[in-house]
Amino acid sequence: MHSQSFKSPFIPNTSEDRASMLAEVGAQSIDELFEDIPSEYRHPELGLPEPLSEMEVIKKMNSLAIKNLHAGNYLNFLGAGAYQHFCPSVVPFLVTRGEFLTSYTPYQPEVSQGTLQGTYEFQSLTAELFGMEVSNAGMYDGATSLAEAALMACRVTKRNQITVLDTVNQRYIDTIRAYAMPQALEVNLVSAENLDLNADTSCLISQYPNFYGCIEEMQTLSDLAHSRGALFVMSCDPIALAMFKTPGDFGADIATGEGQALGVPLSFGGPYVGIFTCRKDYLRQMPGRISGKTTDSNGKTGYVLTLQPREQHIRRENATSNICTSTALIALWATVYSSLMGKHGLRRVADLCYQKSHYAASEIAKLPGYSLVNDRTFFQEFVVSCPKDFETTNYGLEKAGILGGYDVSDKYHNGMLICVTEVATKTDIDHLVETLGAISQNG
């Protein structure tokens, strides 16, 4: 049984309150309020643990947190879709203000202008960064954003085949398959060297930089897709877009991305925010929430959720998607981060990632037994073919206080995908290089 002293710090009703309220309701007890539930099913043994005090919970959770090796106490060279970037201290202070944290979807715009204007800023930022005409308010993550782009391309073109380059993140390809399968849409995996698009191809999906860090010939791919009447879809790293040509420059029709890179904590995989941008022509096929500018009855500028007749709460089974959330708080995080970084800061971050990763790659390439597997331009990630197998190499790095790269030995011999962002100093990189050198020499 529960401890007699337990009292929830979140429930204000006293026993006196309960007694007077029950009298108003016309019930003898709270249990009586549940009498619609047939007695044989009512009040089963719940089976959860007994309550703890806040002090005890903190202790328990700390004991779990401390079991993790993490990017706070290890040098981190792991990317592969989630990136450690520096985030200014002020960001969490603003984003976790209770007025943002504990509000909900802005159904009443008169008292939700903070969320709505923040969303409009997010849309402005992502559209500019991606060089695209319009952006929505945010999706779950980069993978689901791309999967929804594939479904949207099928709706726009009325074709049922989705063609994905084999240099796209495998986890994203798996997510696309999970979304496409129930609608009987075909997913084809192809290599850029051997592209075959046909009259059923709704879209060609690419990643920029690709999963292995490289910048591919996007204009060629875009032209090819368009020559077959297919849409060109790009999944992009937003930091790379502060430096490299944008999806808009290549004529992309839909461009998505993982917003986590915009200073959002790694947090073991979520919550993140999916970026979703497209051509204005396709706006009415777009999934998700959108904030739009308007005026109030006194002529003052304000913002509302708009173009809602695409959405599930209006169109039900005919909606463009079932999505409700815009992952608003993480979109806000990315917005505040980007506003601080601004025009020059974001580009500086991209430059630092580029410079440091190229330094790391060139130093590793000098080590006996190590080689770079690609000679294309890369941004912040590159594949190294190692003399030892992945597990041995990664374990050696861990022993030296380093979280090593991502295992790509399925594609490249003893391949490790290494990510270097602006958070790594030259000393950190030199430690990585020395450790790799030592691993190759040890038995």
């Binding site: 009512r42 129930p182 308007t294 079932n322 806000l332 602006e422």
Partner: protein, 491 residues
């Protein structure tokens, strides 16, 4: 209405967009120079031309976003009885725990042996939710409630395929369901058939029987319903659907009412999703992030979306695995871990007894509102309710549900959910939650009576409400007619 015009102008200026505040030469962050030997830059032809982002200082950013936040109603600042959304107090302990670097700085692609603490959180939360639902299989990977629904019906689809029943396409959905139900069913490739309710608000079993044949895939059913009612006919409904060879999906959006009171798995549901941001008090964040775990029967467990946390027989370590015949990935990684940690913390703090206190007080508060407001509004189904009560404002001639909702904002209360469920005309759907006091509920009741008096005196006054909010009624038609969806130089 009590603000001087000059202050309004000021308020408008304070809402200048970031790009309107931008001045060349300002910056909001100090970044280091590169400390590595200069590397060869990429060819100029590969680089973007311009990046038109704001140039503002940190102080300006703080003042701007602080001001924006103050334009919001939130649980922290206002009573927020938005029906079906469970806007309860969000404990800050959850935030502190989620921000622990051991959780917030763990990389999602690290090998299992490096992240045993995070995997133990996932593994234990799976078992907590299994206890709450009475269903053995759990996946925490769905990233929001709607994705939980989609994953749930895809799991159901996979089980039917596995039984050689892939031809079953018909999904029955009550007309009271959230819009996400039919939208998710359509995304999962089902044909949606809408089912009505009887005069008592319960599901019409004859309509279910009429569709219970060899084409029937299943039913998507919300328990308690969006009318705030516990529908005991759902038990018989499950039997009818099972006998016809179909499966039953339970929408657990309203689980706050049922914690410790009944387990949906015991009633015959095969799949149930939960909204951690509702029932387990993770912050709603202005519209996400959420998390939409699903719980399933033994038979359906092998089809769950992944990855899920399991223990390795050999090494005894926790690891992430995909179920044997999984419907696939919900997203890039293993769910919204930061949300999962918060829910885990909340359940750990409150435990068995806390769960019963939640459902008991949530249901008491809703019934108290029913008792005190039943003379004011029409009650379409005159029964005890669960976590929320749905009234119809239609007998208040001259004041619509919209008018009442907008006027509530003037008095410092967030509006209820309006015009939903669709089967109730002029619906006002009120969910007080367990974290509101009797004093707050009494003030809310008093204000609704006051608004009623205002309507009786001059209903046109309500048509123009709200008056005291940062902006008055917004022109939604204008926003849709000529969409302006981002800042640009021209506007």
């Amino acid at each position: 209405m009590d603000e001087a015009p000059i202050l309004h102008e000021n308020a408008l200026n304070r809402r200048r967009l970031l790009m309107e505040r931008s001045r060349p030469g300002r910056t909001g962050v100090a970044l280091p120079d590169s400390d590595v030997p200069p590397q060869l830059n990429p060819e100029a032809s590969m680089l973007r031309q311009d990046l038109d982002l704001p140039e503002v200082t940190e102080g300006e950013v703080v003042r701007y976003f602080t001001h924006l936040s103050q334009l919001n109603f939130s649980i922290d600042t206002h009573f927020y009885p938005l029906g079906s959304c469970t806007m309860k107090y969000n404990p800050r302990l959850n935030e502190t725990i989620a921000a622990n670097p051991g959780f917030s700085m763990s990389h999602p692609a690290q090998p299992a042996h490096q992240i045993q603490g995070a995997l133990e959180v996932i593994h234990t939360l799976q078992s907590f939710l299994s206890k709450v639902s009475g269903l053995p299989g759990v996946s925490l990977s769905p990233l929001a409630g709607a994705q939980g629904e989609l994953s749930g019906v895809l799991t159901l689809r996979a089980a039917l395929n596995d039984r050689g029943q892939g031809h079953r396409k018909k999904m029955l959905i009550p007309d009271t369901a959230h819009g996400t139900n039919p939208a998710s069913a359509a995304m999962a490739g089902f044909d949606v058939i809408s089912i009505g309710s009887g005069p008592d608000g319960n599901i019409d079993l004859d309509s279910i029987r009429a569709e219970a044949n060899s084409d029937l895939a299943g039913v998507m059913f919300t328990q308690p319903t969006t009318l705030g009612l516990f529908d005991k006919k759902a038990i018989e409904m499950c039997e009818i659907v099972h006998q016809a060879g179909g499966l039953v999906y339970g929408d657990g959006a309203n689980m706050n009412a049922l914690l410790g009171r009944v387990k949906l798995g015991h009633l015959g549901f095969d799949v149930v999703h939960m909204n951690l941001h509702k029932t387990f008090s993770t912050p709603h964040g202005g519209g996400g992030p959420g998390a939409g775990p699903i719980c399933v029967t033994e038979e359906l467990s092998k089809f769950l979306p992944g990855p899920i946390a399991t223990t390795n027989e050999l090494t005894k370590l926790y690891e992430l695995t995909m179920p044997e015949k999984t419907i696939g990935r919900s997203g890039a990684f293993q769910g919204n871990f930061g949300v999962l940690v918060r829910a885990f913390t909340y359940i750990s703090l409150l435990g068995n007894q806390g769960m019963l206190d939640i459902s008991g007080n949530a249901v008491l508060n809703a019934n108290y509102l029913l008792a005190k407001l039943r003379d004011l509004y029409e009650l379409p189904y005159d029964r005890k309710v669960m976590h929320e009560v749905v009234f119809s404002a239609k007998k208040r001639l001259g004041a619509s549900a919209l008018d009442i909702s907008k006027r509530l904002l003037d008095y410092g209360f967030h509006a209820p959910t309006m015009y939903f469920p669709l089967v109730v005309a002029e619906a006002l759907m009120i969910e007080p939650t367990e974290t509101e006091s009797k004093e707050t509920l009494d003030a809310f009741i008093e204000v609704l009576h006051q608004i009623d008096l205002e309507a009786a005196q001059d209903s046109s006054f309500l048509h123009e409400a709200p008056y005291n909010t940062p902006l008055s009624r917004l022109n939604e038609a204008k926003a849709a007619r000529n969409p302006e969806l981002r800042w640009n130089k021209a506007n």
